[in-house]
């Protein structure tokens, strides 16, 4: 009798298990729909509101002033001008931060990899992790203190670049260290076994072997700083004209979005600038994804 009752108990148990499974499945589906809905909403809203302003001028002209925007709205025209000052400013600031952060980040990453378990490198690793957690606006304040007040004596693209370079640094350090760990130790030893000096092993073997990993890390850090606004408000400030001088105030697309937002006449430009930034970051991410998937294929071989 005991065995029969335990079998029926088991069958009941299977029924309840199936119910639980179905419930859980429904929950998972509901949650994923809940995640997708806002994304679709955000993208559709940005596209539908922003697309109207996107034209050739949008990419080649500087941002308009309030009066121009006001007249255009009164005449039911599209607002003249564009975000060329922001786009060029973005590229300028990012270029300068990359020049500072990429070599430094890669070197620190290699140092950490080569000195696993040493006290100084463990300290350095924790410090870069702390740096990763510092809010970007704080980095803006620091850069204001260092660069704006003491070096360029005024708001400048360079000050913005320094703030963003500090943001990039921990990401590049970490991805470099992880990439170096993935390169088989035999490759490194083979190079040393040929009598190669240390710097040649790094430059000719380690960096080329980890190229796709390193570039993935760099691109991810770039897409992170592309949309940064807070540190730039305190450093690069913004400019209505296209500027290529790193010691002068410079605009950037996220800065422009912030300025457009503060001007009731320019609301339409907020949307189109957001659309531009969204597409830019998305393209960068897709490119990064394709790079890292290539790396996986190569690893399998």
């Amino acid at each position: 009798m005991a065995s029969v009752s335990s079998i029926t108990g088991l069958i009941d148990n299977i029924q309840s298990r199936k119910r639980k499974n179905r419930l859980f499945l429904a929950l998972v589906i509901a949650m994923s729909v809940l995640t997708v809905v806002p994304i679709v909403f955000i993208i559709s809203k940005i596209v539908s509101n922003g697309i109207g302003q996107i034209n050739f001028n949008f990419f080649v002209r500087s941002s308009p002033d309030t009066l121009q925007a006001m007249t255009a709205i009164a005449n039911n025209d599209t607002i003249p001008g564009g975000i060329a000052n922001g786009i060029t400013g973005n590229f300028l600031i990012i270029l300068v931060s990359s020049v500072m952060a990429i070599p430094m980040g890669i070197m620190i990453g290699i140092y950490l990899y080569e000195n696993q378990g040493r006290r100084y490198s463990d300290l350095l690793r924790s410090l870069t992790e702390i740096l990763q957690g510092v809010p970007s606006i704080v980095l803006g304040i620091i850069s204001y203190l260092w660069i704006v007040k003491n070096i360029t004596n005024g708001f400048s693209a360079f000050a913005g670049s320094v703030a963003l370079a500090i943001m990039m640094l921990p990401m590049i350090v970490r991805s470099t260290e992880e990439t170096m760990k993935m390169i088989p130790n035999e490759i490194r030893e083979a190079a040393f076994a040929m009598g190669a000096p240390y710097h040649k092993v790094i430059l000719r073997i380690l960096i080329p072997s980890g190229f796709s990993g390193l570039s993935t890390g760099i691109l991810l850090s770039l897409s992170r700083i592309l949309g940064e606004t807070a540190p730039l408000i305190m450093t690069a400030l913004g400019s209505t004209a296209i500027n290529y001088n790193i010691t002068k105030p410079t605009s950037a697309v996220p800065l422009l979005i912030w300025e457009f937002y503060n001007d009731p006449n320019m609301v339409k430009l907020v949307w189109s600038s957001s659309l531009f930034l969204l597409i830019f970051v998305l393209t960068l991410n897709i490119f990064t994804g394709s790079l890292s998937s290539k790396r996986k294929i190569r690893k399998q071989k």
């Binding site: 088989p184 035999e186 490759i187 030893e189 083979a190 190079a191 040393f192 076994a193 040929m194 009598g195 190669a196 000096p197 040649k200 092993v201 000719r204 073997i205 080329p208 072997s209 190229f211 190569r298 071989k301």
Partner: protein, 260 residues
């Protein structure tokens, strides 16, 4: 003591009181003394963890990459103390082939063969380079297989081909000594046989030190054999003699499969 190797004429390598420790007091290799015969294959055998790879890596001072490894005693290469040679000079004269084929993944076959020159900043004329690549690949019987794809990546070759490429890379520098750390343990039997034939062929020009845990491999191709156990060099002698008349009971136990 007819089997003894005490009286080798002009040994290319002389190991003297060599001890290597990974941690203080824990020796992986203990007090080794041996003379290595020139232009011959010397096999280093023994069970896993007996220190054979550790010993091999002392010959080109690879242990210096890891600061926690302490080496005592020394090795003489042609009567020069290797501790006093620059690592560049030493590693140029003592080439190394690893357990797993490891061609440089970013370089093509051609670049892999001359990698030693490139990594040491030695500039060669195009003609010289071509000659070195062709001769090295011919020496490892890889030339006919890859001559039409010299500029493809070395990682697309089969495992056995990759390993021959690595040997070509090592001999491109024209070293005196070739160190091989279980070069066939990751390969199939056919590729293994090719590498073994190749090694027998190469001993005309190079002194070969071969670490292997495969006794029959040592029996097939080596002239002299070392048997190591727990970091000690238990027995060292002519391979033919040692396999038929092991002096030490531990050697006998290993050779007859009692442990390993």
């Amino acid at each position: 003591m007819t089997e003894s190797l005490d009286n080798i004429d002009h040994p290319v390598l002389k190991v003297r009181d060599l001890s290597i420790a990974y941690e203080a007091g824990k020796y992986a290799v203990k007090d080794i003394n041996a003379d290595i015969e020139s232009k011959a294959i010397t096999a280093i055998m023994g069970p896993s963890g007996c220190g054979k790879s550790t010993l091999l890596r002392a010959f080109n001072r690879m242990h210096e990459l890891y600061p926690n490894i302490k080496t005592e005693g020394t090795i003489y290469l042609n009567d020069n103390d290797i501790r006093e040679m620059s690592t560049i000079e030493l590693r140029r004269r003592v080439g190394m082939v690893f357990q797993r084929p490891n061609p440089f993944p970013t370089m093509n076959i051609y670049e892999n063969v001359i990698a030693g020159y490139k990594l040491n900043g030695i500039r060669l004329k195009r003609g010289e380079r071509d000659d070195i690549v062709e001769n090295s690949l011919k020496n490892v019987t890889l030339w006919d297989e890859v001559k039409d794809s010299l500029f493809k990546k070395g990682t697309f070759l089969s495992g056995g081909q990759q390993q021959r490429l690595c040997i070509a890379r090592a001999i491109a520098f024209n070293p005196d000594v070739l160190l091989l750390d279980e070069p066939t343990s990751a390969l199939d039997p056919v590729s293994t046989a090719r590498i073994e034939d190749l090694l027998v062929d190469l001993k005309k020009d190079y002194t070969i030190l071969l670490v292997t845990h495969n006794m029959s491999q040592a029996a097939r191709i080596s002239d002299n054999s070392m048997f190591m156990y727990l970091g000690e060099l238990v027995e060292y002698g002519k391979t033919d003699y040692m396999f038929t008349n092991p002096k030490d009971s531990r050697t006998e136990g290993y050779l007859t499969g009692k442990f390993g």
